[in-house]
């Protein structure tokens, strides 16, 4: 018989087997993957990815996402410009989809990760009933959907390249793809075991 503290049970991030937290060097008893649980740097990796993502998000909004060449005239549109243009043309659903995917989701993800990373270190909102696991789960689910804009640009650029009319991806496409990639990394790097709430049988 062994006596264990329920608070010390953690799931393996790879195979989700329940493990006993043994301190610094944890390896999963089922799949052998390392379960990171550093006491000194718990959030730094996630912070680094998040800051990279935020930095990459700035050029993604400044530079044009799509460049349309019609009969020699170049016309670039940024993410926000594209949304406004679609809205003015009357394609409201598509404008909404692009707005949610490229502007709302990244910003929501930045804010949620920011809040989570701060709140696990400093007691902000401890007394308030904020379900942090739910917040984290939301970021994981909505995160990949911001890739929509990048894929749309890729498809349009591949589809339309005539001599008179062509669409070329802009600098923002690269910046935006990098930004999304790093937010995904930041979310994966976040150690969910740091949230010490609803841990009772």
């Amino acid at each position: 018989m062994i006596e264990i503290d329920e608070k010390k049970l953690i799931p393996c991030p790879i195979c989700s087997a329940v493990n006993i937290d043994k301190g610094k060097k944890n390896t999963c008893r089922r799949c052998g993957s390392a379960i990171y649980h550093h006491t000194s740097f718990s959030t730094e990796k996630s912070w680094a990815f998040l800051i990279t993502a935020i930095i990459a998000y700035i050029p993604a909004n400044i530079y044009p996402m799509l460049i349309t060449n019609t009969f020699g005239a170049h016309d670039g549109s940024t993410i926000l410009g594209g949304v406004v243009l679609l809205w003015e043309h009357g394609s409201y659903p598509i404008a909404m989809v692009i707005f949610f995917a490229s502007i709302m989701i990244p910003v929501i993800k930045f804010l949620i990760l920011f809040y989570l990373l701060i709140s696990v270190k400093y007691p902000i909102g401890k007394d308030k009933k904020v379900d942090k696991h739910k917040l984290y789960y939301i970021t994981e689910v909505i995160g990949p959907w911001s890739m929509i804009d990048v894929f749309v640009v890729a498809i349009l650029a591949a589809l339309i390249h005539l001599s008179n009319i062509s669409i070329v991806a802009g600098t923002a496409a690269t910046a935006f793809a990098i930004s999304v990639f790093f937010t995904l990394l930041a979310a994966h790097a976040f150690d969910e075991t740091l949230i010490q709430e609803n841990r009772n049988l």
Partner: protein, 214 residues
């Protein structure tokens, strides 16, 4: 809380949505167990999981091959015809010098989905034959690493968005590959939603391996 030994931890399960600790209970074949706190699905109990998984991953693989070989959409602008396939989309990005976006797309919509279905096929075949104890373990770990990075479903929605953007400018003909991609995405979603990796681990534990018998 008292336990016999470390192996008894296998009877415990932590909800992946809200981190509540649960005790695993036996349930009816084909039914699911839900979390009492957040209602998320904890696990399914299904004795036909291996056969289902094998059949679905082979079907998905065939549809994925079809989605890649045939044209996705064909458009007509000013009398010119253009069509795209999935590989063509990726290569056109690389040709235009967008290496980062091109590589990212290549992994997210081509390599990872392909790998997932290949791994699933090998994995379920090995489990069916009750062979390869170490192999299945390595494949399961690899699968867990890749799964969050596979985005064929998002690509499908992107195609729809791109097509709606083109309405009015060009005539659009939808190709066979588009329908194949829809079927592929549905199978992919079903496998991701229905077959949790932890269930395969549970299943793997119950299997008596051929090698250890000999």
């Amino acid at each position: 809380m008292k336990l016999e030994n470390e192996a008894a931890l296998d009877n415990l399960i932590i909800c992946h949505q809200c981190y509540t600790l649960h005790q695993e209970v036996p349930i009816k074949d084909g039914s699911k167990a839900c979390c009492s706190e957040c209602g998320g699905i904890l696990y399914w109990y299904d004795t036909t999981l291996i056969d289902k998984g094998l059949a679905l991953s082979i079907t998905g693989f065939i549809f994925f091959a079809m989605a890649n070989f045939f044209p996705l959409v064909q458009i007509e602008i000013l009398g010119h015809e253009q069509f795209i396939t999935i590989p063509k989309t990726i290569f056109s990005l690389l040709d235009n010098g967008f290496y980062i976006v091109g590589l990212l797309c290549m992994f997210l919509i081509f390599i990872f989905p392909l790998m997932i279905f290949m791994i699933n096929m090998i994995l379920f075949a090995l489990l069916k034959l009750k062979r390869g104890e170490q192999w299945t373990k390595d494949l399961l770990i690899l699968l867990a690493h890749i799964t969050p990075w596979s985005m064929p479903d998002i690509f499908l929605i992107s195609i729809l968005v791109a097509l709606v953007k083109l309405i009015g400018y060009a005539q659009i003909h939808i190709g066979i590959a588009f329908y194949s991609l829809i079927v592929f995405v549905l199978i992919d979603l079903y496998i991701v939603k229905r077959v949790h990796i932890s269930e395969i681990w549970m299943l793997r534990k119950r299997i008596v391996w051929e090698e250890s018998k000999a």
